[in-house]
């Protein structure tokens, strides 16, 4: 593996972390969807690069799935849902952007501190790849926790899943079956969540998940 190839892989994985931060910061709905599409495109390129590096043609299929479903289909569908729900207003965050970003940086630092010593036996390339993937997962989780809007929670979940795919492709020997099934489970989750969004709106005239809590007789 030449230094260029390694650097390229790191560049792509690192860009995903960067895009995750953009997701975390972004509080307008359409922009959020566009950035999520970007996240998926970078993932697709990263996986494609891995396929080229590892001479693993099945990873091209994974890349293609990421590109078609997460890069195009899901953002477009969410875009239409947002329009139909009429919620293209700003997103309310529980914690304001500044502290969230600071916390996100701390999470990236944590995942590097955790991953690098744990995976000493593995190659340097895999180690950093895993650290990036863990950061993306944690940032996705952070996004799910800090948002109230159901659509942005869905986006947080999907970006979390992107991190998992990145980790899976970095670790060699992940069978194609598993990747395809993960992709399909995400798709199904998307469908289910989409249906739920409409049901929530029908019932509460809002997709703020606080409405759900109130319906159980509790305050958020």
């Amino acid at each position: 593996m030449t230094p260029f190839e390694t650097d390229m892989a790191h560049l792509l994985a690192g860009s995903m972390v960067l895009v995750s931060f953009l997701l975390l910061y972004q509080d307008r709905m359409f922009a959020l969807l566009n950035i999520f599409a970007l996240h998926a495109w970078v993932l697709a390129f990263s996986v494609g690069w891995q396929a080229y590096l590892q001479h693993a043609p099945h990873l091209f299929i994974t890349a293609l799935i990421a590109l078609v479903f997460k890069g195009v289909f899901i953002p477009v569908a969410l875009h239409r849902i947002v329009v139909r729900l009429g919620i293209h207003r700003t997103i309310d965050t529980v914690v304001s952007a500044g502290p969230t970003m600071l916390f996100g940086m701390a999470l990236v630092a944590l995942s590097i501190v955790v991953m690098l010593p744990v995976t000493e036996a593995a190659g340097a390339f895999v180690r950093e790849d895993l650290a990036f993937a863990l950061s993306i997962v944690l940032l996705g989780l952070l996004m799910m926790v800090t948002r109230r809007n159901a659509v942005s929670q869905v986006i947080g979940f999907m970006s979390l899943e992107n991190g998992l795919v990145l980790a899976a492709t970095g670790a060699r020997g992940m069978p194609l079956v598993v990747e395809i099934s993960v992709a399909f489970s995400v798709l199904i989750a998307f469908i289910v969540i989409g249906i739920f969004l409409f049901r929530i709106r029908e019932r509460f005239d809002s997709v703020d998940v606080r409405a759900l809590d109130m319906s159980r007789g509790e305050s958020a």
Binding site: L107, L110, S111, V113, V114, P117, V118, L138, L141, L142, M144, V145, R148, V209, L212, D213, R216, E218, A220
Partner: protein, 685 residues
């Protein structure tokens, strides 16, 4: 001569090695469990299953006896190519397994005969019959296992099958509670055994017993001993882990109670011996101290609890606790002697313990079978509602009396011999070099003597209030003798109790292989002694001749009967019994089981049970009734178990709020837990 016969039988079975026979026996029992699901609803079906169990167990007794008397006949362990992913299943009969397999299967075979008659009384046989062969098979797996995995798998099946039998009559709340307590204790015990084996296996993970024996590496003996005491002790019923035993044993159908009390606790003793004597390497001298202390407390508290009890089956269950204490006293002594290099004394103590295991399995099963016959005849377990049953059920009464004499350790029965051997071992204790056991062992001996005396008192009470006097309830007055299968099984057990007591030398000799394996010494061959006496150390020091005692008793009793018949007046007169000036014919005025226990309750009960009596007398001139109220506390339960239960309940109340969080709060919890764990991993290194 015995050796020659064994040699002949070995040459017959040589093509089919003993281990294979044993393994096939276990397989057949498991198949029977599956078959029982289909056929158990028909009376013939359940009879067939019990009969087949009896046959298979008899075959297993034969195989185990050959393996015990001729070690080396079946040395190649049977390897079964199934098992957990990390290893295969190894089954074999070494002398220790063989000794316990004889004990377990002999009793089980006879109990199965009893069940042929008794099992047809079951209201819902489909809840009992399929679990019975599985239970028996699991106990045999534990005994045959030569690796930790199959040992634990057998142990767990044993626990679960017996749990299913305990809750087979789940309509009464007390049975359901017994099931829950038993399940919790069994789970905890199996967990500690798992940890013990994990430590013994060491970092290389050698889970076969051979690998554990050879692992010369660091073995934290104290931890293994503690885990074995908790794990095996909770199954055997060591105080304070006995709490489930008097609840669960009586809850099961009577023939299962006999197996649980008489046999399953012995499998637990086997587990303790296997871990502590065989797998843990040479013991340290102080290992004996916790064992002896716990055992002595178990013995004395078990019998005190039994004395306070009026439920016949619970009384018997508490006596199991006491006898487990006696067995562990022997084991503790064996540890002390072995650690100090007195191999022969260690062999004596060990053989005393295993002999008592054998004896207890016989007479405790006999007593539970007798209690089962009484229960099915009267529908009562409370002794205050029995009485006079010796007239209605003479054969049961006779067999029960034999069991009472045996468990009270009276010569010429077997209970006396094993307790005598234990005392012989206690009398060797001044040789010990350390002063702590030298001081401790005599105290343990005194406790043992006290508990033996109290046990005799308790069985006078049990037999007297059940079988003697006048019936205290209509159901007792209308009782009928039980069926022939049951009577045959009880009489067979009684005969074995007498036989082992009259001819103990054969039992001691056949256990030589066990003591050779575990402590590296054996007692002098007892069959060479003149007149079939036993002299474990030296005839000049102590000797006992069961045959002589038996003949003396028979001759004296015969002569007395002869003289009475010959010289007493032959005229039969009927006259009113002396009524102490109180001519009330009501059976309630009889001496009751609680009035029998009252003096002992006065001596021990005020401290151990915080017993308080309140007498409310009517005023002078008032002809109303006086009232005696008696309050007893289960001090151990209140001191040890109630705080745990309270803690669990409080914690459950506190955590209840977690059921009603919002989705986002759940996500936050997951997230916080994940981050926390990652921080721990990150900072740990």
């Amino acid at each position: 001569m015995g050796r020659i016969m064994v040699g002949i039988s070995i040459s017959i079975v040589a093509p089919f090695l003993l281990n294979q026979i044993a393994a096939y026996g276990v397989g057949i029992l498991l198949l029977l469990a599956a078959l029982a699901i289909l056929v158990c609803r028909r009376p013939f079906g359940s009879r067939f299953i019990y009969g087949a169990c009896a046959l298979v167990c008899s075959a297993l007794v034969g195989a185990a006896l050959c393996a015990l008397l001729a070690p080396g006949a079946g040395l190649d362990a049977v390897e079964i190519p199934i098992g957990v992913p990390l290893g295969r299943t190894w089954l074999a009969l070494d002398p220790l397994s063989a000794a316990f397999a004889v004990i377990v299967n002999l009793t089980t075979a006879i109990v199965s005969f009893y069940a042929i008659g008794h099992g047809t009384h079951a209201a819902e046989p489909q809840r009992v019959v399929p679990f019975y062969p599985a239970f028996v098979a699991a106990m045999n797996i534990v005994l045959l296992a030569q690796d930790a995995f199959s040992f634990l798998v057998g142990w767990e099946i044993m626990s679960l099958a017996s749990w299913a039998l305990v809750v087979s009559e789940d309509r009464s709340a007390s049975n359901r509670r017994a099931g829950i307590v038993y399940l919790i204790m069994a789970t905890g015990g199996a967990m500690t055994l798992l940890l013990a084996f994990g430590i013994l296996a060491g970092p290389e993970g050698g889970y076969t017993f051979d690998a554990m024996r050879q692992a010369a590496a660091f073995k934290p003996g104290a931890i293994v001993l503690a885990l074995a005491l908790i794990g095996a002790g909770s199954k055997a019923g060591l105080v304070p882990l006995h709490a489930w035993l008097p609840l669960a044993h009586p809850a099961a159908p009577s023939h299962v109670s006999a197996l649980m009390s008489g046999v399953m606790t012995k499998v637990a003793v086997y587990g303790f011996i296997r871990i502590v004597f065989d797998l843990s390497g040479p013991p340290s001298w102080w290992w004996s101290i916790p064992v002896l202390i716990v055992a002595a407390i178990t013995a004395i508290l078990g019998v005190l609890y039994a004395l306070m009890e009026h439920d016949l089956k619970r009384l018997l269950a508490y006596h199991t606790v006491e006898n487990i204490g006696i067995i562990f006293i022997g084991l503790g002594l064996a540890l002390a002697f072995e650690a100090s290099g007195f191999a022969v004394a260690a062999a004596l103590a060990l053989i005393a313990a295993i002999f008592h295991v054998f004896n207890h399995s016989l007479f405790k099963s006999l007593l539970f079978l007798g209690a089962g016959a009484v229960l099915s005849a009267t529908g009562e377990r409370d002794m205050e509602c029995m009485g006079g049953l010796i007239h209605r059920m003479p054969v049961t009464a006779f067999a029960f009396l034999m069991g009472c004499i045996a468990i009270s350790a009276l010569p010429p029965f077997n209970g006396f011999v094993s307790e005598w051997l234990t005392f012989q071992a206690i009398l060797m204790s001044p040789q010990l070099p350390q002063w702590i056991p030298r001081l401790l062992v005599p105290a343990v001996g005194a406790t043992l003597a006290c508990s033996a005396a109290l046990a005799a008192a308790c069985f006078v009470k049990a037999f007297g209030s059940t079988f003697l006097g006048r019936p205290r309830a209509p159901s007792a007055a209308a009782a009928k003798e039980t069926d022939r299968w049951s009577l045959g099984a009880m009489l067979l057990l009684a005969a074995l109790c007498l036989g082992a007591g009259v001819l103990p030398g054969f039992v001691i000799d056949s256990l030589a292989g066990v003591s050779n394996l575990l402590v590296g010494a054996q007692l002098a061959a007892q069959s060479d002694q003149p007149w079939l006496r036993i002299a474990p150390i030296d005839p000049a020091r102590s000797a006992y001749n069961g045959l002589l005692v038996f003949s003396m008793i028979v001759i004296a009793a015969g002569l007395t009967a002869l003289i009475v018949r010959r010289f007493a007046s032959h005229g039969l007169r009927r006259a009113p019994a002396w009524d102490c000036g109180f001519p009330d014919p009501s059976p309630v005025t009889q001496y009751s089981s609680s009035s029998f226990a009252q003096p002992i309750r006065r001596v021990f009960g005020s401290v151990v049970f915080r017993a308080r009596e309140h007498v409310t007398m009517p005023r002078a001139g008032d002809t109303g009734k006086a009232k005696l109220q008696l309050n007893l506390h289960d001090t151990l339960w209140e001191a040890l178990y109630d705080p745990v239960i309270r803690f669990v309940n409080t914690a459950a109340d506190r955590l209840n709020g977690f059921q009603f969080l919002t989705i986002r709060k759940y996500l936050m919890l997951v997230f916080a837990a994940l981050v926390l764990l990652l921080v721990i991993i990150g900072t740990w290194r």
